[in-house]
Chain length 143, copies 4
């Protein structure tokens, strides 16, 4: 009953499961899928040419998770080599919606949707996504 | 624009925000709300008279999160004294659905719905919730 | 071969072990004793009347760990109710040295020595411990 | 006052600092250096041809940290690309002592010594390091 992953052009990073990620049930602690997913979003953004520490200084924005829906399908175990994926599902003026998965080979272990809002780094107030980022997203979508 | 919490009979525990819970944004790292919520579910279960390490031995069950929907409304900060709440929203033969919130006084910072499945501790196969737990839930609901 | 704890006047807090604290070995992940010990130092400081978020604003200092020596004697397990202790072992102009333990009843599970430096919150440069804190330490020592 | 790293043959892995690793001070949370160091030890062992999940089944051993001495020299920050190193400093019948560092380029941020004991996976009782591992260590030392 493994959900097959369609061969879509998604961004992904490898994630090794270390002791720090597991719990006494012998599996990855459920909150840690959120960590793996954030690492994937960070590397995806880096792949587009953006470093979050620089974005926070200029143009002074950061991204914060607003909503998340996760489905935990199968457990990941200590020492597994996983893949964390990210793909854009939606784009608003001030937010991005990502589809994300954590998988082991073809098996999807956890999948979900994460919406992040663009915030002013100083005030945490919502703000439009900077044009430099939007244009890079458009360019990325065409590749 | 603070969402008022209705005076419903929910279970809650205090949660102090330590450095370990925060990130470089100066706020609680988003995955850590999952920790606070699990602490609340654990203490709620303990309040019903069940210790999870004993349940894993006899009758040999554990609870694992299957789905979670979270909304992050406002940031919690270092040193905040929060409250993590839990209340039952639904009951299946082999799963429980909880409504949960993390709040600071009257302000709801994060809220969501978490569905946990009852699993055989050895095989991780889904199994019915043991009658001893169900009857305690019924008793609890009447209090 | 349990090390008995001498009945000395140390400060301590209760620490419940949740799933988040454990690893696939079924025991508390070794790095997490550092968390328990920091919670104890934070509550000890709060007990003296100091909130770290206020100290960072006025007089503008924070405490950062400089050295730590830990001995891991016995494993703590899921659901254990532990105690994390803290007592002052030494005092410099700009640093404090603590003896700390994590124990389960009389059994010491982890013990060590942690030296923290007083830093200017803005520059992270070492600075003398503020007199308000020193005088409270002296008062505390006499109680 | 950066401590220069001598050009010794040590094993190292890259470690990227994500939000999950930092705290509200804007730097890597002190306990997380323990995580980085364990990742390095795990990859070093993997480099010698040993997977810890397999070792736990056959010959039925695991390694647990017994003592650790750490010195925190400079803070690592969000988004830094670090290196975590490991080298053997000592070898007993049933334990190994490692020198470990976390560095950013030439700057050593954290360094320390970690002693791990070899334990029977089932009983957690100390046991001799299996000959297959010892001989691989000897082979590794000659490379």
């Amino acid at each position: 009953m493994t959900r097959r992953v369609h061969a879509s052009p998604v961004f992904s990073i490898p994630v090794r499961v270390y002791y720090e990620d597991t719990d006494a049930g012998g599996v990855v602690y459920y909150a840690n899928y959120f960590r793996f997913m954030e690492r994937a979003r960070t590397e995806w953004l880096r792949g587009l040419g953006f470093e979050q520490d620089e974005l926070a200084r200029d143009p002074g924005v950061l991204f914060a998770v607003r909503t998340a829906k996760l489905e935990f399908l199968k457990p990941a175990r200590f020492n597994d080599l996983l893949e964390a994926t990210v793909e854009i599902r939606g784009r608003g003026r001030a937010s991005l919606t990502f589809g994300q998965r954590v998988q082991r080979g073809d098996e999807v272990l956890c999948e979900g949707e994460v919406r992040v809002a663009c915030l002013e780094a100083k005030s945490f107030a919502p703000c439009p996504i900077p044009p430099t980022i939007l244009s890079r997203l458009d360019a990325g979508a065409q590749t």
